[in-house]
Structure formats: structure tokens, C-alpha cells
Symmetry: C2
Subunit: 411 residues, 2 copies
């Protein structure tokens, strides 16, 4: 009998009616002959409410106590779900993270999973019950309650699917899958049937919500088929799976736009070994988020311009810090630009297809969209452009790579 893990996010368990709907879905899956493990987030805005309560009491609460507080949200969801399944005449049992032996390190608020004791879940499944596990939470060897950080419930679901050797890990959400780009920008955006772990990882890190990078990494590492789908319909969503040879037929899988970026440019940096390291060590000390780093040398390699992107929230502090660095390290100047956006195309097909970058640059160039910085990785090409050109660029590239057309092999 195959095991299906079903993860429901906060919006999918936001009230009694939605809980009942999720319960019916689990029961249908069970009646179809599967063993079902549900992983739940906290209901709707519960976590926000708890964070607000904590801030009233202490603006800088101890992280251990924050974990103690926030984990109550998932505990409420799982008990209500067990009650809902029971009300529908089926057997269910709820478990906290600690109760299923989801052991983590002791890094409160961002703990990492060390081990999961699958036995307790297997024995309840074998007894015919739907097993309901609190997402986002674990326990240390010493018994302290921890949380897994952003996207933690997805990580719980995928990790459980891995140790239970589940046939599938279903991620229920309020969208019906992963799209070629944001449908609010491009109405022709198409829901994908399949996407590889690596592509999904890039999409996630480029700001396409749906799932958090860490859970996808977990899925890739243990080869867990992940199915992102809507909690409102029975339609299939998007399967996140290992790369297959057929997938490379599709050169570009999606287009993303990352706003809220700012560019910082250090101009005229003496190009000496170790200087870049000193610069970015100092920036890291101040917890400034750095996205791409691009360096070009000139004057026969004696000088360099070093550019990096950061968030709008961090740019002011970054500028002050870089001005100090100018004085200390003999850098000529620092420039910042708060009106930038990053447009990226993602696709494992790039590994074997040529001319992808030039097609991208041509499409942008024909529309007179100026490219500031370019960064590439094996399956991503990203361009920093003017913020005002962002949405137009998404539409152009979506069309240029014909992303609205379903691929021939239905992938």
C-alpha cells in the first residue's frame, strides 16, 4: 500500500469549513487505497497573531520561547483536523513534531532536521489511521521545541515523505501549480505539468513563491516526487521531479522578475588579491543581504569595478558601509541605484542549447530595454534592468521563448 503525504498550508486550514474540506480530501485518498499522512501549517493568520502578542510582551523575545509560542499554531490545526476526520467517521491521530521524533539541531527559529523516527507513524498507518503531523516544528535531543524557519511545513512534509518512502508528497496551496511566470503580469502564463528540482530551486530563489528552497533541496536529495496543487479543485498541479532526458527539450522553463532590489557599485577598486574578500566579509558582518556579485577588471587588470545587488531595505546601510570601505581601501567611488529589477530565465535546456543568452538580449534590445549587469549560472541567465521596464521585459521574454505553448511531450 503506497503512502501519500499531503501538506496543507495556512490558507487551506483557515477555518472549520476549510478544515472539513481538507479532511474529506484525505479520506478520499485513503478510500482510494493509500495510507495518508497529513502535514499542517497554522490556521490562517494565527502565526502573525502570535508574533504580535510576543512583540507586545518583549520586542526582542528569546528564540527558544518564540519557538515554544509559535508551535502552538500547528498543534491547534492538527487536533482540529483529527476531530474533523473523526466527525466524518474515519480514524485519525495527531502528533506534534516531538511526538513523531522529528529531531533537529538546537538552532531555535531555524533548526535543521537531524532524524525522524518513522516507526511511530508506520504503526498508526498500519492500524488504519490517517496520521496528522504538525508542520514546521521539531524537538532537540534534550527535548526543547524548535521550529524549522520559513517554509518549514513544506520541509516537514518532504522530509516525512522521504523517510516514509512515500509515493508522492502533495503540497496543497491556494494556487493550482507552478506557472511559467507570474499570471498577474502575463495572462498567457501557463501552468507547468512538470519541472525539475533544479529549475524549481532557481525559481524559488528568484522570488517565485509557492515553495521554499529548503524543502525542494530535501526533495532533490531524497528524490521525493512533489506535487504542487490547489486545495480547491481536483485538477492535477505541477510535479517537481528529478530531471529526465526529455526535459531538456524545453530550453527555458520560466521567467521571473525580482523587484525591491538595489544595485551598489564600487568603482575603481585596486585589484589586489583578498580585497573582494575583505569587502564582503565586512558587508556580511552587518547582516546585509547580498544577491548577485559581478566584477569586471580594466586598466590591464589593475583596477576593478565590483557591483552587487542588495534589498531596498538594506541599501542605505550598505552605502554608508561602502563609503567607509572607499576610505580604508583606496576605492575611488561608490554608486547606488534603487530603481533596478532583475529579470531571469530558467531552464535546464540551457545546458545543452546554445544561443539562449543572445535570444534574451536581442528581445530586450529590440524593445530598447537597457541591460545593466548580467549574471549567469548553468541553468539561469539574469539581467539587471531599470525597474520601470520590469513587467514589459517579462512579457517580451515569455513570448520570445514561446512559454505560453505547451511543450510537445506534455512536460
Amino acid at each position: 500500500m503506497s503512502i501519500i503525504v499531503q501538506k496543507f498550508g495556512g490558507t487551506s486550514v483557515a477555518d472549520a469549513e476549510k478544515i472539513a474540506r481538507a479532511a474529506r480530501r484525505a479520506i478520499r485518498t485513503k478510500l482510494a487505497g493509500h495510507q495518508v499522512v497529513m502535514v499542517l501549517s497554522a490556521m490562517g493568520k494565527t502565526t502573525d497573531h502570535l508574533v504580535a502578542l510576543a512583540n507586545e510582551v518583549n520586542p526582542d523575545p528569546p528564540q527558544r520561547e518564540m519557538d515554544m509560542l509559535l508551535t502552538t499554531g500547528e498543534q491547534v490545526s492538527i487536533s482540529l483536523m483529527a476531530m474533523a476526520i473523526s466527525a466524518a467517521g474515519h480514524e485519525a491521530i495527531s502528533f506534534t513534531g516531538g511526538q513523531v521524533g522529528l529531531v533537529t539541531d538546537s538552532a531555535h527559529t531555524k533548526a535543521r532536521i537531524r532524524s525522524i523516527d518513522a516507526q511511530r507513524i508506520h504503526s498508526q498507518l498500519d492500524a488504519g489511521k490517517v496520521v496528522i503531523v504538525a508542520g514546521f516544528q521539531g524537538i532537540t535531543e534534550e527535548g526543547a521545541i524548535t521550529t524549522l524557519g520559513r517554509g518549514g511545513s513544506d520541509t516537514t512534509a518532504v522530509a516525512l515523505a522521504a523517510v516514509l518512502q512515500a509515493a508522492e508528497c502533495e503540497i496543497y496551496t491556494d494556487v493550482d501549480g507552478v506557472y511559467t511566470t507570474d499570471p498577474r503580469i502575463v495572462p498567457q502564463a501557463r501552468k507547468m505539468n512538470y519541472i525539475s528540482y533544479d529549475e524549481m530551486l532557481e525559481l524559488a530563489s528568484l522570488g517565485a513563491g509557492v515553495m521554499h528552497s529548503r524543502s525542494i533541496e530535501f526533495g532533490k536529495k531524497y528524490n521525493v516526487p512533489i506535487h504542487v496543487r490547489s486545495s480547491l479543485t481536483d485538477a492535477k498541479g505541477t510535479f517537481i521531479v528529478a530531471e529526465t532526458p526529455g526535459m531538456e527539450q524545453i530550453v527555458v522553463r520560466g521567467v521571473t522578475l525580482k523587484r525591491d532590489l538595489a544595485r551598489v557599485e564600487l568603482v575603481g577598486v585596486p585589484n589586489e588579491p583578498g580585497l573582494a574578500a575583505r569587502i564582503f566579509a565586512r558587508i556580511a558582518e552587518h547582516n546585509i543581504v547580498v544577491d548577485d556579485i559581478i566584477q569586471n577588471v580594466y586598466e590591464q587588470g589593475r583596477k576593478a569595478n565590483i557591483g552587487f545587488t542588495t534589498t531596498l531595505a538594506d541599501v542605505k546601510e550598505a552605502r554608508v558601509l561602502c563609503q567607509q570601505l572607499c576610505n580604508e581601501l583606496g576605492i575611488r567611488d561608490v554608486e547606488t541605484d534603487e530603481n533596478v529589477a532583475k529579470i531571469s530565465i530558467v531552464g535546464i535546456g540551457m545546458k545543452t542549447h546554445t544561443g539562449v543568452a543572445s535570444r534574451m538580449f536581442k528581445a530586450l534590445g529590440e524593445a530598447k530595454i537597457n541591460i545593466q549587469n548580467i549574471s549567469t549560472s548553468e541553468i539561469v541567465i539574469g539581467c539587471l534592468i531599470d525597474k520601470k521596464d520590469g513587467e514589459q521585459a517579462v512579457r517580451l521574454l515569455h513570448e520570445a521563448f514561446e512559454l505560453d505553448k505547451a511543450p510537445a511531450n506534455n512536460e
Copy 2:
């Protein structure tokens, strides 16, 4: 260094301000040279809110899941309290019932404590921390979360005080102690400085709120000094302690009035061995609450009248049941009266003083208050009277036994 256990009820931790006030109290106690263990209930109306949520999902929820749900309330309180103490610059650590090894049987929603592992608390106290424990909850040997039923947080506090050999268990509440009677009925009612466990047990069972019987039983068994006091002031409240010889000087400690009672009278019962047992077994089968039972025989012991009191909620069902019993057992008639109240006087001094009952009957008789049934135990005399006479009777007896006057030995 002596240990003080401080228990705060739901109204005393109802919002951020009240949490901060309770935190300051614990810190003051610590700075005065004590080790402090706090036991908390859920904030304000949290439990009611959770019960309502459960009922939306399932009108008859599984008890295990109810415990899973309700215990989140105390977990929220303890984490916020630890944050509040930390905000005030002191160290604190919160623990769920399971984390302090409060092991119970598996009777969900009304579990009984089997053992508590004191070591974990001692080591944190010795490290200089205020230890904050979730009231009302425990864990089974198998790791399932349980609750202790009504008044459970008081029981947790008194049990912890017992195993930690605390100098005192302070119960903080919204009244400033235990009164000789309800001050809303008798403005002259006096806050007692001391009361014995047995007297407090009788007061609790006679409907004087403040504390639940089970926690007082625990205090008596392990001789834990309990101090019931207000969370709003620094004034001393009432100490619940073991009986001392001096205590017997006070003949009557308090007067209670129990309303919402009904009387059922079986008239003309054939007085045969085993008949009463058959009657009350049948009543128990239907979960009808029975308070006092009084039987008088007549016709040279051949006939008996058997009266009992029950709640207004149960009396209709009790009447139907008793009419069936009349037919089956040859009982002549059944009468019910829904307009009764029970007035009781409580005091360990009764054990050694005579004439207490006659003083009570005289006071009632002079005011033309008719006594229906009388029941007595070693330290209680209770009379069933007309409901309309209830409050007047309380005032009369409070005055007759001079309860407004402080005892000479200040007890």
C-alpha cells in the same frame, strides 16, 4: 534557598500588561532570595475560544484530540511569560507538562498525576532561572498529551510544590483570599487568615469557588502550605494549612449557600435490605448528580422516606426515573421540589464543641425559616431550606456565629 511556587489563573495573565505584572511579582520574589516556579493557566478566554473552535469542527470530539487542542492555551501563556521576564532583564525558561516529566494516567480530559521528575526543574532553578510550567497538562508514559480536568492548573501547582518541597504554593487569583461567606450576600464577610485543608475541602464542595477540591486534597496529602491571594495587591491572603490545636477555638469557620438544587423525595419505600442500593445504582447509571441522601424510617421501620438532592439540570430526568422505580419497587409516591437551597456551616471546631446544630436551628427558627432536610458530617451541618430564604439565612448564621469578628488568636 527556599522554593516558592506561584500559580496564576487565566484572569491574571489575560493580556500583555497582566503578564508583565505577574512577571514583576516573580522577579520580586526571586530578588527576595527565593527560587521561583510559576504555573500558568491559559490566557483569559482562550480555553473557551478553543472549545468553540472544536465544536464547530466536531460536536463530539475525541478526548485525546481535545487535550491536544486545549494544552496549546497554557503553552502560549508560559512562552509569553518567559519573554516578559526576559524583557525585564532576568532569566526564565518555560516548560510544557511533558517537558517537566509530569506523567499521568491516560484518562484524557481528566487524567491523574502519576509522577513528576523534579530534577529538570531543580537544575534550572539552581542555574538562577525562573522556571515557568504549563498548568493543567501532563503526558502519558507513551508520550500522549493529557489534561487534568477542572481546576487542573491548581493541581499542577500544588503537586509541583509537593515534589519540590516548596516552602509555599501561592495561588494568585482575582479575589484576595477565602471569605467567611460570599461578600456579595454579607458585606461584613471577613477574609480568613488561615483555614484547614478539611474546612477548605468542604467549602469547595459546597460551591465556594476559589480552588478545586482535587488540588486541596493534594495539598493535604503532602502537607503543602497553600496561600490564596490577589494578583492585584501585595496583601496577604488566606493560608490553607494543616489543622492546628488553636484552630479548634473557632467553632464555625464559614457559611455557604448552594443554589440550583432540587429535592427529590421517594415516599413510602418498603424498607427492605438492598432497596436503596438498587435505587441509587439506577440513578448513577443515568449520570444524574446526587448530592445529599437522607433516609428516615417509620411504621416501626417497615416504611422509609428516601430524599436526595440533585441539580436543577438533572431533576426532570430524575423524576421520570423515580416514577419508573415506584412501579417496579412498590414505592408509594415521588415528590420533587425545585425551589430549595442548601445552607451549610463548616468548621473543625464542631468536632469538640457541642450545641452548634441547635444554635443553627434556633437562628433559623426565630426567623421562621423552615428546615426541610438536615444532613451532617464531622465538620459540616447542612440544612435544605426554601430558596427564597437562602440569602437571609446566610446573613443570620454569619451573625449568629459572629463570623465578622476576627478570632482572638488571629486565625
